[in-house]
């Protein structure tokens, strides 16, 4: 790029092109949506299978896998941050949204576990599903990506449905919610990201 003066229209074109270059850089690659989506889907289906087909008493232990996913997420974010050459407001806000989501999940699990006790699954499932919808919907709005918005709203719908289905099938609602809220948008984001890189 030269360091010389130019016409008015060329100036506006230059501004537009630089803003577009910056915007294309911040595309979300969908990786963490897919990692979490598949983890939750696996846990949800595995718990259902262990409980119903094998009558395994500690079926809920399968959810311990999420700690491994969390460790991977921390590792991935740290690695990504080291490589990051540009910081954007969008990414900052998105990180805060997911941070709030994680805090709310832990708090709700703790509070409901303490207050409701043994029968907490019936309360926890719709509450968790409602929470799942929040980061997806907000991310969709921030990234202007409709599939995430639809995914978030689907989570809220499954939260209502969860109130009317037998307790034995509740865990499958998590799988259903993450397919629409994280897995499908994750693949769509991945495709969009690869296309923008070209």
């Amino acid at each position: 790029m030269q360091n010389e003066e130019f016409s008015g229209q060329a100036g506006l074109d230059l501004i537009q092109s630089m803003i577009n270059k910056a915007r294309n850089q911040f595309g979300e690659n969908g990786h963490l949506y897919l990692v979490w989506g598949w983890t939750i889907l696996f846990c949800s289906v595995s718990q259902f299978v262990l409980k119903h087909f094998f009558d395994y008493q500690k079926h809920y232990l399968v959810w311990m896998i999420t700690w491994l996913t969390l460790a991977y997420q921390i590792f991935y974010i740290l690695k990504y941050k080291r490589k990051e050459r540009v910081k954007t407001y969008t990414r900052d806000i998105l990180r805060q949204v997911w941070f709030v989501f994680a805090i709310l999940m832990i708090l709700c699990a703790f509070i409901i576990g303490r207050t409701v006790g043994v029968d907490s699954e019936k309360t926890l499932t719709p509450v968790f599903l409602s929470l799942y919808g929040m980061p997806s919907f907000l991310s969709g709005k921030i990234l202007q990506f409709k599939p995430l918005e639809i995914g978030g709203m689907t989570c809220w719908l499954t939260a209502i449905v969860a109130l009317f289905i037998p307790q034995d099938f509740l865990v499958l609602m998590f799988g259903l919610a993450v397919i629409v809220a994280w897995i499908i948008p994750g693949y769509l984001l991945q495709r969009k990201y690869k296309r923008e890189l070209v």
């Binding site: 790029m1 030269q2 360091n3 010389e4 003066e5 130019f6 008015g8 229209q9 100036g11 506006l12 230059l14 501004i15 630089m18 803003i19 270059k21 910056a22 915007r23 850089q25 080291r82 050459r85 540009v86 910081k87 954007t88 407001y89 900052d92």
Partner: protein, 98 residues
């Protein structure tokens, strides 16, 4: 160049305008990122960044990351204001010309 009298001379240069347009869209960016996106040479970019800094339009932070020197640039409030005025003036100039 009399038509451009009202345009800020600091911004009315291809590379400096490109840098400001890039920085207005982000929180901060590394020197290498700006160099890549503007397609400029390191030497020319350094000189133009210094001019923007002298005008108070950007901040430059030099630090070390993983034992390598790193230069980070971010736009200032004055830079944002100057950019907005520049774009407005450019648009009104184009309207007058039409």
């Amino acid at each position: 160049m009399s038509d451009f009298k009202e345009l800020d001379p600091v911004l009315h240069s291809q590379l400096r305008l490109a840098v400001i347009s890039l920085l207005i869209s982000v929180k901060e960016a590394e020197f290498t990122y700006i160099k890549e996106k503007t397609g400029s040479t390191a030497g020319n970019l350094s000189v133009q960044l210094q001019k923007l800094k002298d005008a108070g339009y950007i901040e430059i932070v030099k630090q070390y990351k993983d034992n390598y020197p790193q230069t980070i640039c971010r736009i200032t409030k004055e830079g944002i204001d100057a950019f907005e005025i520049y774009v407005k003036n450019l648009q009104s100039y184009l309207k007058v010309k039409k």
